[in-house]
Point group: C2
Chain length 389, copies 2
């Protein structure tokens, strides 16, 4: 008995009650229709338009969606009324009905230590690029910078239908959470590295090995032989750059001189690691390849603080080409990533995944930008166009 507490639902009486209640409801509703002349404060809904146009809500809905079922004249009349009443559709209602959110979540996933927001200019550019592309598809962008577990992600973003898909910037040291997300069937696109071959989620990335190779080969061409690598190779994107670096050195028969120092994604970190190194063993290298421009700038500052010259004593190449790079002293030679194209591709892939299609990973070429910090371009001036005028 206890296990069937709503057995009484099945009796006849409640059904009659239902019918009576429904009648009562209809009546009160129709009274409402009469007494409601213009409830101004509340926003206008389809039923308001329907009443004004003398048609049903279904017709309004179809007319506003340009459904060919509706007569052209009716459609235009309804659209006209909607415009004049400044009608805006209620997205919550539409999304509920259509079982979607028309929103993509963008998550920053670079192990930001201690809850501190991670603010490389690269990030904002990437987010901006994604936002622009999503706007073209009329999708909204839900932003999160909280680093959480995959359970949380899935539950918070997808389970609650806050987002139709997730774009993650940064593959992170441990991509378990990402694999898990993917396994749950959520549309997922990641900006990351290309290291792991058995990927089961869609990755868009720069060709990090190519970038690492470009940077290193360039330094070698300048006659540098003792090049150290600054970056945390536990991040797949960084690891790719490191691979390129090692490959270039190996080709030159210099494998033994490869040296990697683990630093996180900040200028402070770059500064400290080089300051440490100089204090410990003096100047034992003649070039640095840094995994990001921020790191490179920190490292250069540390060298300068100890009286060493860049590029004379040590040549430096960075990665990203952030906006300030040409204006640093010395202007930073760096490997440029195609952020605009990256954002575009990620959104494209996402739209495919949402449309139940599959999306292939994609790798973007990098471009070496030679300025002065590598020693190859001492006469470099920012804004060449200006000087040409």
């Amino acid at each position: 008995m206890k296990s069937l507490p709503n057995l009484r639902h099945e009796l006849a009486a409640p059904i009659l009650q239902t019918l009576v209640a429904r009648l009562r409801w209809r009546i009160s509703r129709e009274q409402g229709e009469v007494r409601m002349p213009k409830d101004s404060s509340s926003p206008v809904s389809m039923s308001d338009i329907a009443r004004l146009a003398g048609v049903s809500e279904s017709t309004v809905s179809r007319a506003l969606n340009n459904n060919p079922l509706i007569n052209e004249k009716t459609r235009e009349r309804i659209q006209q009324i909607a415009r004049s009443m400044n009608y805006k559709i209620n997205e919550s209602a539409r999304n509920l009905r259509l079982k979607r959110s028309h929103t993509i979540s963008v998550v920053i996933n670079t192990g930001s230590a201690g809850g501190q927001t991670f603010s490389d200019p690269f990030m904002l550019d990437m987010i901006g690029a994604i936002a622009d592309r999503l706007a073209e598809h009329r999708y909204d962008l839900l932003f999160s910078n909280r680093i959480v577990t995959s359970d949380d992600w899935h539950a918070y973003l997808m389970g609650s239908r806050r987002a139709d898909g997730v774009i993650v910037i940064g593959q992170g040291i441990n991509d378990g959470p990402l694999r898990e997300l993917q396994r749950q069937g959520d549309p997922l696109v990641v900006w990351g590295g290309t290291a792991k071959p058995d990927l089961d989620y869609c990755i868009v990335s720069s060709d990090n090995p190519m970038g690492g190779r470009q940077a290193t080969e360039h330094l070698l061409k300048q006659g540098r032989r003792k090049i150290i690598f600054l970056g945390d190779t536990e991040h797949p994107e960084i690891h790719g750059r490191y691979e390129g670096y090692r490959a270039a050195l190996a080709e030159e028969g210099l494998d033994i001189s490869a040296r990697q120092i683990k630093v996180s994604f900040s200028s402070e970190s770059g500064y400290q690691s080089i300051a440490d190194l100089l204090k410990a063993e003096g100047l034992t290298f003649d070039a640095i390849f840094a995994a990001s421009d921020s790191i490179a700038m920190g490292a250069i500052k540390a060298l300068q603080s100890q009286g060493y010259k860049v590029p004379d004593d040590v040549a430096v190449v960075g990665f990203d080409d952030i906006p300030i790079a040409p204006f640093y002293t010395p202007p930073l030679t760096t490997v440029r990533q195609n952020i605009q194209r990256g954002g575009e591709l990620m959104v494209e892939k996402m739209m495919q995944l949402i449309g139940d299609k599959t999306a292939e990973p994609e790798v973007l070429p990098t471009e070496l930008v030679v300025r002065s910090s590598c020693g190859a371009n001492p006469g470099y001036q920012p804004i060449q166009e200006y000087n040409q005028q």
Copy 2:
């Protein structure tokens, strides 16, 4: 007749039809209840939990919201079931019912020329701070970087109930759109300047005049007399900094030497303006107060390119204290804004506005950070802590 097409709705027959249809619906529904053992793919809803717990949906809803009406035992049992089924509430449905979105829109509003995303590191830090605070209130953050008219804003964000309020970063050259938004009754908080006295929307800002004064007075104390101002005073926040600059000069009886050059928010712009100036009239100044660190760095680079020394020939002070500032050459003296507190306050104000309370504007003090570019601190080392160890 034609104007009353749904007159027939009022006749008796359709009501009977309604009743019949409803009966039919009830029956099919109950059949459905029987044949639906585990429709796995679709996410679990309250009715699933209700069925499993042998209670009604209302009880489930109340139990999950910790409504005291529900017996404690029942509540815990229901919550247990919800957890075990990995239930996540459908936010679209909840938002529809509660007539809200539980989402705040954040808009970047710094006249980004030509649709190019504007990427000052300051922005990302600010967005991060806001995101963190919103997350504490369990609000979502909808990000837009499209600069549009107020009509668009209101219609897109508020009219469609995509957002419950708007936070705008940057007051912009023309705040008409903002006033309009406010007039429409939308909760609005702006990060901007303090110039206009007749504000009708809630502004949170740094004390820009204070910052301008700190920077200028510091340069004056270093013996500089011909200080130029770099920035576009049409932006209220910049105008405040300019006011502080002029006030400090006036107190010194140097009003006549005030000179402002209009540059937009980028390093390129700072570089070009100084390059132009030098080309046109040589070195006619001995100090620069720049409206942002990015501008300052561009300006310094222009000076260095022409062989001038900073701070020896020209002292420079910036504004913002972006993360790279200590690592620039020379390390940048600048006016720090309290971004964390700013984000916190804006979210606080927003919550007040949403709660139908009013929110007062608020001004945050600025802090001068003395490094080397002003000439006052030649021995400055980034990361003092490191050297102390």
